[in-house]
């Protein structure tokens, strides 16, 4: 009976791998801005994997100079970013476990890193989250619900701009999320 249960377990174990596998990989970096009142926004930087980057470069770097002009950036936005931004940029932000609505991203830009031949997206998410009494636990997570795109957080610390913050602890999950208390 014990063996039987093991076999059954083995047969049903793959349920854990129910999700499809990603085909786009993004290294996501975040840069947090604070002022005297609290969190005012974050800059996000996505670095696409070289294989998918080659597709973006082929479609949008029309003059093939490996530099994205203003028109080409607009093309990148139109082909690749508009849809994502309307869906919340694969981003989920929570403050003390309460979801913060994802604002419309500003200052979108795209560039090609010639050395690594990768495409980099940057955008700013303006926020207005004042400091509250007690702990402020902020979590920023990137995830594609369809799992077509995988996010990896290579950061080893939280990058912050602003004098009034005081970060007490940081938890970085390489699978796309950063949480810290300030």
């Amino acid at each position: 009976m014990k063996k039987l249960l093991i076999v059954l377990l083995l047969l049903t174990a793959p349920l854990l791998m129910i999700y499809s596998h990603p085909h786009i990989n993004i290294h996501a970096y975040t840069y947090y801005y604070f002022d005297n009142k609290g969190l005012i926004g974050l800059y996000v930087q996505w670095i696409y994997d070289p294989l998918f980057s080659s597709q973006i470069i082929y479609e949008c770097d029309t003059d093939e100079d490996m530099v994205l002009s203003a028109d080409e950036i607009e093309q990148v936005r139109s082909y690749y970013f508009t849809r994502l931004s309307s869906d919340g940029c694969f981003t989920r932000i929570t403050l003390d476990r309460t979801d913060i609505p994802i604002p419309t991203p500003l200052n979108f830009s795209a560039a090609i890193d010639k050395e690594d031949e990768v495409v980099i997206f940057t955008f700013y998410l303006p926020l207005e989250e004042p400091y509250s009494r007690g702990k402020n636990r902020l979590t920023v997570a990137f995830a594609d619900p369809t799992n077509y795109t995988a996010f990896i957080c290579p950061q080893r610390a939280v990058a912050v701009e602003g004098a009034t913050h005081k970060i007490t602890d940081v938890y970085i999950n390489r699978l796309g999320s950063i949480a810290f208390t300030y």
């Binding site: 083995l10 619900p145 369809t146």
Partner: protein
Amino acid sequence: MKYAVFAIVCIILVSIIPVWAQVVPSPPLPPPPPKLESEQGPTTQNVTLHGNLAATFYELQMKGSTFIKKQMDILREGLDLKTLLIITFFSLGYGVFHALGPGHGKLIIMSFFMQEGTTKRDALSLSVIVSIIHSSGAILLALLFQTILDSVKGMQQIRVQYGFTLFSGILVMGIGIFYLIRLIREHNPVPKVQTPILPESSWKKNLIIGFSIGVVPCPLSLTIMMLSIVYGVFWVGLTSVLALTLAMVIVLYGISIATIKSRDYVEQRNTLKKSSPIPTAISTIISYIGTILLIVLGFYFAYTAGSAL
């Protein structure tokens, strides 16, 4: 008169100032940070780094696909037999690794082979059918995206693939429902049902289920094919995709055989202990689990892809 005009202008200007002051100008955006690097950032924070098996797997996958891309960059400059062999054999090994990861219809195939009556010949035919349809769909789609569908760009191309996933999910769900109805009809609680649910193995018979699973074009093969067309090295891309297809056949066949053997083990116990009703029940339950899993998975894939469309 001159003084009066001057006084009026001054009064107007002075009165404008408070009005102007009340209009709060939008705060300027903070300057963009310098290019962020993985090793950058203050280290005085109390940081807990959580490594993750999935993240490591994804990074390894990314390194593999990057390696293929770099080999294609070399072959773009001119055909080189050594590099062609490297890309072929690497694609084969990488394909096995890639196919062992989540996805690729492994769970659906396992659910299918949990049913009674499926054989090792079914395992071979289904593995080949799924892999060939999965890859050939990608090749065809790459050709279409570069020709008559060249207006479909960027995220629209990914939406096309979601469309295929939705279609696949509906088909798998439909097949699951069909098998479930058949199972319920053929189920006989008195002794053990000896009649197999499916007739003897045939390629034709497995074509429908194989098509349902494999109809989603392989995104990795799609990207490789598109890149190879752009680079003007179509045959290199095709060789790489063929190696990936072979790898997928190997993985799917291995998983199918493992499932059949596990199922047979349970059935063997059933035969040995006929007096006990538990193994009989377990054998039937496994068939039901497999069938219900097909429906659940089909629904899950259809729902996820439908939401993303």
